[in-house]
């Protein structure tokens, strides 16, 4: 009587496990991606040097008296020694393959190629494809990302919060439904289409309005990104405003507030955490967006910030971190320095958006727990 057939029990168990796996898959993916990105960039990060094999090989070819065949042999022998115990070049010297003069020559060659994270972050020279002297400085790329993100937020935050307020507090229920659907449609436009709009329509407009020689600029990218961030800011901001207890509104109305007083005296203070989270998620989107900025910002390595007014030159072209990865990853040979540096940029981006999204999450949690 009180017995269930094994088949039924097993079926239930399998279904339950499938659902469980779906549930934790996100965690698995995040860790897997984290691991993969770090793994690909590990050579640069942990050794602190550009791939020693290629570095030594290039250095050796430049030393007089060592021909290609000999260099190959040296590199092959080098592979057999334990890199932790002895430096390859020291070994070459000890084995009298090279003399002291050659030793210093090689050392200086390698030194020049040594990867310093600080130098990587602070120099503006991005010449990854140079035959003779590749340099990897991402400062201009960071400046590109930062400039486009800041400017896009200057556009998206007022627009986004304004429409969140309008939808939540000012418009009729019917209009509210329509607006929410339209804004969700805005979020559904693929980013490459946005990029296309930037490349064609905005490009023309900026050239005509500002008389700029070229329209694919910081400003162009910022407008496109701003419009792309608006739906996120609106929907999360509206949720935050809806979460303000109606009793606060009644209290304020009972005391005779005007609509605008209600907004800035009651709603904005009460919903400030949620609205901040909305803005942060918008910023996260702006930093991480690739395709649209790749097409709209002009794709030239350039730092648009300088000391002269207005400090951020919005009519210059830039190249962002994301666009760099997208455009160059296909051309970088696997495991080359360039390839690994692109992965380090990936880690940089990952860390940035991770911090932004995590703080947004924590802020949202903060309001829920109150």
């Amino acid at each position: 009587m009180l017995h269930r057939s094994k088949g039924k029990v097993l079926r239930e168990a399998i279904i339950e496990w499938l659902i469980r796996i779906c549930g934790i898959s996100a965690v698995v993916f995040v860790f897997a991606i984290f691991f993969f990105v770090f793994w690909e960039a590990k050579g640069q990060i942990f050794s602190g040097k550009v791939n020693i094999n290629t570095a030594t090989a290039t250095a050796l070819t430049k030393v007089e008296g060592i021909d290609n065949a000999l260099a190959d042999k040296i590199v092959a022998q080098r592979a057999q020694i334990d890199p932790k115990k002895r430096n390859t070049v020291n070994w070459l010297l000890e084995e009298k393959v090279i003399d002291l003069e050659q030793f210093f020559e090689i050392e200086s060659q390698i030194k020049a190629k040594e990867f310093s994270f600080w130098k990587f972050l602070t120099t503006e020279k991005w010449y990854p494809a140079s035959e003779t002297n590749p340099r990897y400085g991402v400062f201009a790329l960071i400046a590109g990302t930062v400039s486009v993100s800041i400017l896009s937020m200057l556009i998206a935050v007022p627009f986004g919060l304004g429409s969140a307020l309008f939808i939540s507090e000012f418009c009729s229920p019917k209009l509210k439904e329509t607006l929410k659907i339209v804004i969700e449609l805005l979020a559904a436009i693929p980013s490459v289409v946005w990029g296309f709009i930037g490349l064609t329509i905005m490009n023309q407009l900026i050239m005509q309005i500002f008389g700029a020689p070229i329209g694919i600029t910081v400003l162009n990218g910022a407008i496109i990104l701003g419009l792309m961030s608006v739906p996120i800011i609106v929907s999360i901001g509206e949720d935050a405003l809806q979460a303000v207890p109606d009793s606060y509104r009644e209290a304020a109305i009972g005391l005779g507030v005007t609509r605008w007083q209600m907004v800035y005296k009651v709603l904005l203070p009460a919903a400030k955490n949620g609205l901040l989270a909305a803005v942060l998620l918008g910023i996260g989107r702006a930093i991480g967006e690739t395709m649209a900025v790749l097409l709209a910002t002009g794709h030239s390595v350039n730092n648009p910030f300088d000391g002269t007014f207005p400090f951020l030159h919005a009519l210059e072209s830039v190249k962002t971190l994301t666009a760099t990865i997208a455009a160059e990853m296909g051309e970088a040979p696997r495991d080359s320095d360039h390839y690994q540096v692109l992965f380090i940029i990936g880690i940089l981006l990952f860390t940035l958006t991770f911090i932004v999204n995590l703080s947004a999450d924590l802020i949202v949690k903060g309001i829920r727990n109150k």
Partner: protein, 258 residues
């Protein structure tokens, strides 16, 4: 104005619809100034709706339609030139659940002054004085004078509800509407808030909606019994409870329904 005219609120043929549903029907009432008037009746009889007409706060939901007049302070509040902002300044409201704003006690009390006066008029000393006076009037000053910076939502419910009354006072309202102000409070807190209402009567015209007939009997001077959106009986409280004229009233008071 109550000197010449004993009535603070005069309604004539007030009808109100929520969409197609008629919630108030031909409500004509004369409410005396300076006393406590209690509104009683079973749930859904329209007493809260009527109360919320008096400061027109029920108009924030779009589907409300009203006909008839409410004369209050010598003016029909449904006249097109009436400013809702000014109306709500003179007609304060206390809600069912204490709803102080999530700011400090001090800022809650001066909230009304801040929204109704230009910034230049709000001297620190004036605000301090208003806070002390209002909190003394609701018997909170001794408890809270050292904690004026405390967040108002962290107070006890009784203190919160008293604070909600206190924040109306700096605006010098003529009428205070109370919508079941004690329903979220325990017995002792209810007693304290009732005591407060009795001290405020005379200075303000108070209209209170209550589910609790014993409460209406304890604190109100006049009482109105409503049923299905209509006024059944309006009389002095002792009269209404001891010798109701309408059988519907006596049945309700005796607890046959409701």
């Amino acid at each position: 104005m109550t000197e010449q005219n004993p009535y603070a609120i005069i309604t004539e043929d007030l009808d109100l619809w929520y969409g197609d549903f008629q919630a108030l029907e031909k409500v004509s009432l004369n409410l005396r100034g300076g006393i406590i008037t209690g509104l009683i009746g079973p749930s859904g009889c329209g007493k809260t709706t009527f109360l919320r007409c008096l400061n027109r706060v029920n108009e924030r939901y779009g589907n409300v339609r009203t006909e008839g007049t409410i004369n209050l302070l010598g003016k029909n509040i449904y006249d097109p030139d009436v400013s809702l902002i000014e109306l709500r300044k003179s007609v304060g409201m206390v809600f069912q659940r204490p709803n102080p704003l999530p700011i400090s006690v001090y800022e809650n009390v001066v909230f009304g002054l801040r929204i109704h006066s230009p910034r230049s008029e709000l001297k620190r000393s004036l605000l301090d004085e208003a806070v002390e006076q209002a909190l003394r009037e609701v018997m909170l000053w001794d408890d809270l004078k050292d904690n004026l910076k405390q967040k108002a939502t962290e107070l006890q419910l009784e203190q919160q509800q008293k604070l909600c009354i206190a924040r109306l006072l700096p605006l010098k309202p003529d009428i205070i509407l109370m919508d079941e102000p004690c329903s979220a409070l325990d017995v002792e807190a209810t007693a304290a808030v009732e005591e407060l209402m009795l001290t405020l009567a005379g200075k303000y015209t108070i209209v209170i909606v209550t589910h609790n007939m014993a409460q209406a009997r304890r604190i109100s001077d006049e009482c109105i019994f409503m049923l299905l959106g209509e006024i059944i009986e309006h009389d002095r409280t002792e009269q209404l409870f001891l010798a109701p004229k309408n059988p519907k009233t006596s049945d309700y008071i005796e607890g046959r329904y409701g």
